[in-house]
Symmetry: C2
Subunit: 230 residues, 2 copies
């Protein structure tokens, strides 16, 4: 389930706050989901709660981390140390969540050799050697869209089977390789859609309801992220 990481973050926050146990209700609030959904999710990985009491925070953290495969720190390779790549390389929030940025790569010779956060940028040609040496398990692509497919092919060639792609394009990869994409422009456009929808809903009933600007039908609002708060 894609919500497990969310639960994990909420659990860590609760653990830091000194809580020993949580009820499904409390954890659900912290994670921003329905309590029934949370219980069903957790029940899928076993019965780790105590009726009448709740869930043991520490135990649940261990269990979720175990299921997510976070028991060992995973090595991440970042390809494309540009604008965005710099920010990612300089981010220290990954280490605390079970990941270690193990290598930085770029194709631009003028960037190779640069040191960021204690890591030296290597040329992308060194990927095969370094990937084995550092036992890379996840590749992150932060290159321009045109180079992304090529980089993905290189990553796949050295045995990487999980890729996080920031370039705004679809990657074609062999079966068995997982790709997740993060496209910030898409996120903004979805927000724009909601803005537009809200504006239409509030304007039309008040005004004469001009058919020109009206949305054709209801147009289902499904963007797989719960949005309405509180």
């Amino acid at each position: 389930m894609a919500r497990l990481p969310e639960y994990l973050r909420a659990l860590h926050a609760l653990a830091d706050a000194g809580h020993e146990t949580v009820s499904s209700e409390g954890l659900a609030n912290s994670a921003g989901v329905n309590s029934a959904k949370l219980r069903k999710d957790l029940s899928h990985l076993g019965s780790y709660g105590t009726r009448g009491v709740g869930y043991d925070v520490g135990l649940l953290i261990d269990q979720i981390e175990s299921v997510l495969g976070l028991t060992q720190c995973r090595a991440v390779a970042l390809v494309g140390v540009g604008n965005l790549g710099h920010a990612l390389a300089g981010y220290d929030g990954f280490a605390s969540r079970g990941f270690r940025i193990a290598a930085l790569f770029d194709a631009d010779p003028s960037r190779v050799g640069e040191e960021i956060n204690g890591l030296v940028v290597r040329h992308v040609d060194e990927l095969p050697r370094v990937a084995v040496q550092e036992s890379i398990s996840i590749g992150v692509i932060a290159t321009p869209a045109l180079a992304a497919q090529g980089v993905a092919d290189q990553l796949v060639a050295v045995g990487v089977t999980s890729i996080l792609n920031f370039a705004p394009c679809v990657l074609s990869v062999p079966e068995g390789v997982d790709v997740r994409k993060v496209d910030l422009a898409i996120e903004l456009q979805i927000l724009s859609f909601h803005e537009h929808r809200k504006a239409s809903l509030t304007a039309l009933p008040a005004a004469g309801g001009s058919a020109l600007t009206a949305l054709p039908g209801g147009l289902a609002v499904t963007d797989n992220q719960e949005a309405i708060g509180t």
Copy 2:
């Protein structure tokens, strides 16, 4: 639908490549989805295709942009010009997709006044004045998690009803305000989960199937992003 932006990107790419029309099959391949799904999605916003021919690329772009509310360029305010904020502020890919970063804010006095990409970083206290002046329609939060809720409250207070949150925390906002979050650690953890699952699946049938490392049940693999390519 959350897939419309994806279609829009594919359509722009096709338009740049000189295509006048596309079949649902072709566009579906470019966007990485099923052709039936694409047709159903497009049918929700009207009949803009011609049977036997396909869709007019230009017309479809106009229609989707109209539905997404991208006919006018939307002004975006970015709060938190740190590591990540710098990368976002320096990114020129938003302008081409209908967004204009109109203002940068930070609470750190030493950052205020800094110029990035032609924009001056302002103090967050100026938000109310600038928000009205620039008619901000979307707020982006790139501050540490502890400050995120406060910034969200400030954004809501000045009338922003769409927020993109990069801080790893859940935001509580009034009804009618849309929040989308981008948490890179969660993306990595989902990939880690898939890595773990793949490792278990390939190792267990070969080895003796030690019950210790086995996943409890099947554990549905649902992460609302189609992953398997080609």
